[in-house]
């Protein structure tokens, strides 16, 4: 592992804590679903925790992110409150979106999370617009734009990267290539091997990183963030990773083998990061266990909060359409 040089021990531990929190949040979400406590859909990023945490670790607190349908990890990594997330997941009035948004639309604009979107690629121009806003307001912020491999074949990806490039906007495009868009493997959807190679079409740096290596993600994104903050324009970073769970609740996973999934599980980004920290003496086994346990507890508290929270009131159903 690489790139840890710039990071304090505190920060490294915080990153591990966040990875555990994401894992715990999503495992709980999966359970709640199985118990029939959730109406709707959700997309889990278990196995992909390193991309969210590594990338966002490179940001200042006042920087922006845009997220995706698979966005729990981004929100937690950005410092989101798991209580409000869980309440939103359960459709409660106390949730981030007062129960109107649900899993696919968690946002916290105040804190710089410009939100998840259910439309693939839908957040890419949002990020470009936020970067334009930053450039015009001269605040020195940077925008991190998450999207999947599937989004990289959409027209809006192309228009957005081009605009960001010609205007040298402070945005970093982070492609979470988890090998599939629903059932579509990247090998069939793309004629090229690396999505990052598309950066050349926009004269921006393109880099492939191991998306299961949180420090490699951090290092690549940090470099791109520096570049963006210095006014040198956007970058495209492709994180190769994998989702362990089905695409969404209803996925039969006919498009991949158990062996493939098992092989990727061996590359668990959390276990890998822990092994590194233990080996470097930055973490003890007791601490490791405590962090994992705390994460579980935080999520249990969040569930308790969410479950005891009130439902939205039907009389208020039309509130918030217009400002």
């Amino acid at each position: 592992m690489d790139g840890a040089g710039q990071l304090t021990k505190e920060k490294l531990i915080d990153m591990l804590r966040k990875m555990h929190t994401i894992r715990a949040f999503e495992e709980k979400a999966d359970q709640l679903f199985a118990l029939g406590k959730v109406h709707g859909t959700m997309h889990l990023s278990i196995g992909m925790e390193a991309t969210a945490v590594g990338a966002i670790a490179a940001l200042r607190p006042d920087d922006y992110i845009t997220s995706t349908h698979r966005g729990h990890g981004h929100c937690i990594a950005k410092g989101g409150d798991v209580k409000l997330m869980m309440a939103e997941f359960l459709g409660k009035e106390t949730g981030y979106c007062r129960g109107r948004g649900g899993s696919m639309h968690i946002a916290d604009v105040e804190s710089g999370n410009l939100g998840a979107t259910g439309v693939v690629g839908g957040g890419i121009p949002t990020a470009v617009g936020a970067a334009l806003s930053v450039q015009l307001r001269k605040t020195g912020q940077v925008v991190l734009c998450f999207f999947g491999d599937g989004a990289a074949n959409m027209g809006i990806f192309h228009e957005s990267l081009n605009l960001a490039a010609i205007w040298k906007l402070p945005v970093v495009f982070v492609c979470e290539n988890n090998q599939y868009a629903m059932s579509m493997p990247v090998a069939r959807a793309f004629p090229i091997e690396n999505i990052a190679d598309r950066a050349a079409a926009y004269a921006m740096p393109g880099k492939v990183v191991d998306g299961n290596d949180v420090l490699a993600v951090y290092a690549a994104v940090a470099e791109a963030v520096d570049r963006a903050r210095a006014g040198e324009g956007p970058s495209l970073i492709e994180c190769k990773t994998y989702r362990w769970k089905g695409h969404s609740k209803s996925d039969q996973e006919r498009y991949r083998t158990r062996e493939e999934v098992a092989a990727w599980k061996k590359k668990d980004p959390i276990a890998r990061f822990e092994a590194y920290l233990l080996q470097e003496g930055l973490l003890t086994e007791e601490q490791r266990q405590a962090i994992a346990k705390e994460a579980q507890e935080r999520i249990e508290e969040a569930v308790a909060f969410a479950e005891s929270s009130p439902e939205p009131r039907v009389e208020e159903i039309s509130e918030g359409v217009y400002a």
Partner: protein
């Protein structure tokens, strides 16, 4: 007669038309091994192979545009957009190209394509996966718009749509995919632009589309117990729609309730209300024309809010009773 689901009826129409006509093929996201987000195309890849059941990358613009281009040059594509909300990405190709090609080219070309897409709320998928945008397409000359409410109609209308020489937007109802009904095994057509009276009655005409036909029939059954006889008309094709059948019913009953799931303002119900109030049925009206439609709000995630965002059986019953209060 054998009963199958709405989803199975659609699949059977696709299968039988693909067997009959080698020019028919399918394209869309995850329609192959995944079988589509709602399993509608399950098994077709195995039967027809990847040449004719084509998984595409996520790129709704080119899905619609390439379907139109293939149609213009002799094929009969059936494209799928996974959720109707994402037709927003294909409007240029559907509206400016597919719909207008024939007229713009002096009537000398044709674009025989079908675009299948599932619409509607009720699945907890929130604001960007629950819309019913059919009114947009009804507004566009050159397109046809079909919206079946039963397995029987789904199969027969889809076969008609595939055989039609125009671009047809085929709006499927998510909440109906698993509903069952009698469907003949052999291929048959239900003609486009012909409405059907799904239940006859003398007191009130309900004009309902898609899943609202089912809710209206349920409401009508209950209202019958109170002695109110509701006639339920299902336009089935929304563009060009069958004004005559609707008009005849309204002349008979003198009371009109229009029910759809889409946002009320500028929805398809507005068109039907306007058509009635400018046509021959106007002078037979005994009550104002009532629309019952989705609220003008994005579909909320919360289950209870979502339930209240669109018409339910009890709302239909109440609205009919209110109409009956006019003498």
């Amino acid at each position: 007669m054998r009963e199958i689901t709405y989803a199975e009826a659609i699949r059977e129409a696709l299968r039988q038309e693909m067997q009959r006509d080698p020019h028919v093929f399918l394209m869309g996201e995850d329609i192959g091994v995944y079988g589509g987000a709602f399993g509608v195309t399950l098994g077709l890849l195995e039967e027809f192979g990847p040449e004719r059941v084509r998984d595409t990358p996520i790129s709704e613009g080119v899905i619609a545009g390439a379907a139109a281009g293939a149609a213009l040059t002799g094929m009969r594509p059936v494209a799928e957009i996974m959720f109707m909300d994402f037709t927003t990405l294909a409007m240029e190709q559907l509206v400016n190209q597919a719909a207008k090609t024939r007229y713009m080219f002096g009537g000398k070309a044709k674009v025989p394509m079908v675009l299948r897409t599932p619409a509607g709320s009720g699945t907890g998928a929130a604001a960007q996966h629950s819309q019913s945008l059919e009114a947009w397409f009804v507004h566009v000359p050159g397109l046809k718009v079909v919206m079946p409410s039963t397995p029987y109609d789904a199969k027969g209308l889809l076969i008609s749509a595939i055989r039609d020489d125009n671009p047809v937007i085929f709006v499927e109802q998510k909440l109906l995919y698993r509903t069952k009904g009698p469907v003949p095994e052999e291929p048959y057509t239900v003609p486009l632009s012909v409405a059907e009276v799904k239940r006859a009655g003398r007191d009130v005409t309900i004009i309902a589309t898609g899943v609202m036909v089912v809710r209206s029939l349920a409401a009508a059954a209950k209202l019958a117990q109170e002695g109110i006889e509701v006639e339920v008309v299902d336009p089935r094709t929304l563009k060009p729609y069958d004004a005559e059948t609707i008009t005849k019913s309204v002349i008979k009953t003198g009371r009109v309730l229009i029910v759809h799931e889409a946002y009320k303002t500028c929805g398809f119900g507005a068109e039907i209300a306007a058509m009635i109030s400018e046509g021959p049925a106007f002078m037979y009206l005994n009550a104002p024309i009532r629309r019952l439609a989705g609220l003008d709000i994005p579909i909320p995630y919360n289950r209870t809010l979502e339930y209240h965002a669109v018409p339910q059986e009890e709302n239909i019953i109440t609205a009919v009773r209110e109409l009956m209060a006019y003498k």
